[in-house]
Symmetry: C2
């Protein structure tokens, strides 16, 4: 027999560990690999031969891993470049050295490109017996092909819940007090997370990257709201931008090593416009920041189950020795009334490097929010509350492996 390794990449989510937990559990149900190794910090862990052995994780450890946010194996932003042949050689030689047949890579579209690139490399060089399988995740929900990305639903649930509860807070002072509340969410290129706040039913103005920010229209909308009901609840994506592409939060934008803009501050920028233009004298901004991707104590149960099962599915499909260069995937069933999904696989290169935007036809005109169709798409995803295992009043969590796990020789 041989071994497999699982690694995680990209930004954390509330359920990326659930997919790892699924792969580990699948191998306990059907031990087709001698060992399930965890590669620390994504592809960097493979390059540096930095592994932990996850094979005999207990059920309790597995359950705790599922409810632990972030990436217990650590993540990386290291992108495998096709011209860096040494990286590919190093990965293959490491897999040979540790007798690793299959690499499961849990991540977003950059990670699916890694899966595709490694598969191309082995095919082009006649290397056999090394396989690469992608498992999807991203809170941004901007992956192609898949109905929705694991991780999105839990962030959506946290965002919608927080929106609802901040709206309660906004309404605490007398009706006559005029006030604007701005909730800022992540979403550099896609408005899914901001749009998910609309599940709460209380969003007055929604600003997403899919539609250019029109200052005049937005301020007019806020002014009207204040006029009618004294309060206005605004949700804005960090990636909100003007027609010419300039981010509202432009003053604070920096680039990350992939050339993606690191944003933040769209809410603050909008607050300043509201104050400058005398639309309202009271504005509060809540930037959900890191909490929206790691507040796992409020996971969506649907999200946890699907993420776990995508891990199971990836492992089970890897019984087929020709299964490589694929990403396991979710499709919403259309043959039944209730929400249900079916699992399938897609070529990783169909997902790699593309971005799926929030459909503009799901946006109401003039920043009024989203359509019923959009609500109907998202609502089933946030259902269910998993039973969280608590310890001393706080959710029990897996210590990040590089702090606690043993490495193997």
């Amino acid at each position: 027999m041989s071994n497999c390794v699982v690694a995680q990449s990209g930004g954390p989510s509330s359920v990326i560990n659930a997919t790892v937990a699924g792969i580990i559990k699948a191998n306990q149900l059907n031990p087709i690999y001698d060992h399930v190794y965890g590669g620390l910090n994504g592809i960097e862990g493979i390059l540096k031969q930095n592994f932990v052995d996850l094979t005999r994780m207990t059920e309790h450890e597995n359950l705790v891993l599922r409810q632990t946010p972030s990436s217990a194996l650590g993540s990386c932003r290291y992108k495998l470049k096709r011209r860096n042949v040494e990286d590919f050689e190093k990965i293959i030689s490491t897999m040979e050295k540790f007798d690793i047949e299959t690499l499961f890579y849990v991540g977003g579209n950059d990670s699916m490109d890694t899966v595709a690139a490694l598969t191309e490399y082995t095919a082009a060089n006649g290397i056999t017996g090394r396989r690469f399988i992608g498992c999807p995740k991203t809170i941004d929900n901007d992956l192609m092909v898949i109905d929705h990305a694991p991780g999105f639903a839990s962030s959506a649930k946290f965002i919608a819940t927080t929106a609802l509860q901040c709206w309660q807070d906004l309404h605490v002072y007398p009706r006559s007090r005029k006030e604007v509340f701005i909730l800022e969410t992540m979403g550099r290129d896609a408005g899914w997370l901001a749009a998910s706040a609309c599940l709460s039913g209380i969003v007055d103005v929604l600003i997403v990257p899919e539609v250019a920010f029109d200052k005049e229209v937005v301020l007019e909308r806020i002014r009207d709201c204040i006029e009618v009901k004294a309060k206005c609840f605004v949700v804005i994506s960090e990636g909100a931008h003007y027609e010419d592409g300039t981010y509202i939060a432009a003053a604070e934008a920096k680039n990350d090593i992939f050339g993606h803009a690191v944003l933040g501050g769209a809410g603050k920028a909008l607050e300043q416009m509201i104050l400058d233009e005398n639309v309202c004298t009271r504005v509060k901004v809540q930037d959900l920041s890191t909490a929206q991707r790691c507040h796992a104590s409020e996971q969506s149960q649907i999200d946890v189950i699907e993420s776990f099962r995508l891990g199971l599915s990836a492992h089970m499909r890897s019984m087929d020795k020709s299964f490589t260069g694929k990403m396991v995937c979710l499709k919403r069933r259309t043959d039944v009334q209730e929400y249900d999904v079916e699992y399938f696989a897609v070529d990783a290169d169909q997902v790699a490097n593309y971005v799926r935007n929030f459909p503009v036809e799901w946006l109401l005109p003039d920043f009024w929010g989203i359509t019923e169709e959009a609500i109907n798409y998202m609502k089933p995803l946030i259902q269910g509350t998993p039973a969280i295992i608590m310890k001393d009043g706080l959710p029990e969590q897996t210590i990040p492996y590089y702090l606690g796990g043993k490495t193997i020789e």
Copy 2:
């Protein structure tokens, strides 16, 4: 028979509505009042005769009210001044008009001053048959006499949980990547909320208002942390200040109508110091802002139960016609090993206008966090997870009464 009215004041919390729910339920168990009215927006609602009738609330509505954050009856910041005799006359005449015998006032130390002032006024003017009873709340936990303030525990639980999960997120990139995470909490004068983050066990540096901010020591501590383990997790109160009293967030401080400073931005100010002094080049700030006082989907069960029972206790004690000018209170039992409380009453003027700070003897030197004694004090308070009634994947909530409730004539 006569009626009673309940009103809420001060900043919202996750469980202030649970106390109102307790008063309503008590009157259903023992209907000593014909009607339980809700006064909208605190004392302003009494002055403006703005009431809703809560007497026959169903059990389901009661349970939903308990899990709804903020103040369903609305709050106010209106402070009754002893020299404004007309206000007192107006309140008494309103109580007479609506045959209201008892005013239950749920709030913090400003509200207890209102209870005390009204009681003094009736005594001084020989007015009988009008009584004023305070029920404590404040997430700040800075009330005197009471072991801990209702509302604190749920905020503490949210803060500690978020700290733990943000710490997971901080550890996602390779060990070598140096990074500081700053979590900013509320707490203008008292460090209770910031200190509660230490329940997570992951706080490296804690900055509270009780000890003057020493830039040199703090930056040195952060530098040492980064040196040893590449990451540093800092928690800072919005009210952190220098020896001379200047707030770290001074640039952004404004005053509210009580002359209290409205703060925010201590985390951002510290981030700038860390960057300017080259302590670390990566810093992330999470300001918990409004969410920390309204994220009721993660209430502490202990907190909900105690808040509800304080409402029961206030109502039950009001059977005694001499019971006025009092606040219902919690004392931790010392005659048993496990955590338990007993309920008693205290004169409202013993609580009014005082602030209880976080004990400096519970702080470790050089911003290292808090002592075991402090942990032992807080840990029992965050225990238990209430079953939240969900609707379409989100917690079901009571619509603020001024938006949905009928007013009475």
